[in-house]
Symmetry: C2
């Protein structure tokens, strides 16, 4: 499983630079220099700059979806709430472990390109499916479908916010310890919100019965 060190070095350098300057804002020379390899190596391993991007992103999402699927399997017997809670925890954990790529991909995905559309159908659709199913299982059939959509958007927003507003947090979250602490606390904050919407949707149900 131990890959070629150069190849790995390139990916690492690319992740950092793409994160800082974006895909188009980074040149292959920059990447090569940062990785301390020759420019041509990049063509050799990935054919092109685009190839490098695709390799990195594909890897990221393959792993990401595996984690999600694993969690869903392992939590099959739990309550909907516990299941969703585990899922959220897994997602935030993964994103935290792949911080730079997460930020970069999140940003790049809001573009309009062939590549983005491809990623959307192959990976994002799945992620969305899993998350939506788990979330809607929790909500049940109480709320209006329209309102549920908005709540779902709110949930998705919470899962990406730290990786878009990372500039707001870089001063506070530093080092491995505080990074793990962040995961714990942030998942807790989302959990509070979940408890609230479940509670208030039960209120609605109760009112409907009376």
């Amino acid at each position: 499983m131990k890959q070629n060190p150069s190849k790995q070095k390139v990916i690492k350098a690319a992740s950092t630079l793409f994160f800082q300057k974006g895909f188009h804002g980074t040149s292959v020379r920059d990447i090569a220099e940062r990785a301390s390899v020759n420019v041509s190596s990049i063509s050799y391993y990935f054919n092109s700059k685009q190839g490098l991007l695709e390799y990195a992103v594909t890897n990221y999402y393959e792993d990401y979806l595996s984690s999600i699927e694993k969690t869903l399997n392992e939590t099959n017997l739990l309550t909907p709430m516990d299941k969703l809670h585990s899922l959220i925890s897994t997602i935030i954990q993964y994103k935290q472990n792949n911080f730079q790529l997460t930020c970069f991909i999140q940003r790049e995905l809001s573009l309009d390109s062939v590549f983005v559309r491809e990623m959307t159908v192959t990976y994002l659709a799945k992620e969305n499916f899993y998350l939506k199913k788990t979330f809607f299982d929790l909500l049940g059939k109480r709320l209006k479908s329209d309102y549920k959509q908005y709540l779902f958007m709110q949930l998705k927003g919470m899962l990406i916010t730290p990786y878009i507003l990372h500039n707001d947090w870089k001063n506070q979250v530093v080092g491995d310890y505080s990074r793990q602490l962040f995961v714990k606390k942030y998942v807790r904050v989302i959990k509070d919100w979940l408890d609230f919407i479940v509670m208030s949707s039960e209120d609605i149900k109760r009112k409907a019965v009376n």
Copy 2:
């Protein structure tokens, strides 16, 4: 107030293309072609591609901050909750009216460049200050400062989510009518959340007294 049509055409074309392909992913030729003007016009009006960017973004933020300040002045006598509610409404409204630029700027702001840092100190700092003050006034001194920070991040996340996950919504929100409807409904969803956190923070206070 009626500006040169060419200049406006360029800005409009640039907004669209920057939104779709990003700043570095768009060439001045692309912009010129889409705006049906000669390439040289862009240098003529804005000196450089960077100048065009700065012009657009500066305009955007000047207007944005004015709206915010206006709202804050007009709502001075209201309760903290109503004040924050108005502010949120104004913000979402403005972003919705400048949809493409909002999405673009939001994305570009997560980069690491001199320009971003400049925008941060001149505009974002102010926005943050206003929002934070209004939000913290509402929360009072009940909650732990740490937890308040997380809630504030959650709020900020809600204000940007629709402009990052816009791909998720472009099928549902089309046309002016549904756009206005969106503003109304989305602000409502945020308001529900605000009610919740205020309510639960009062719970904590009550428990502390007993």
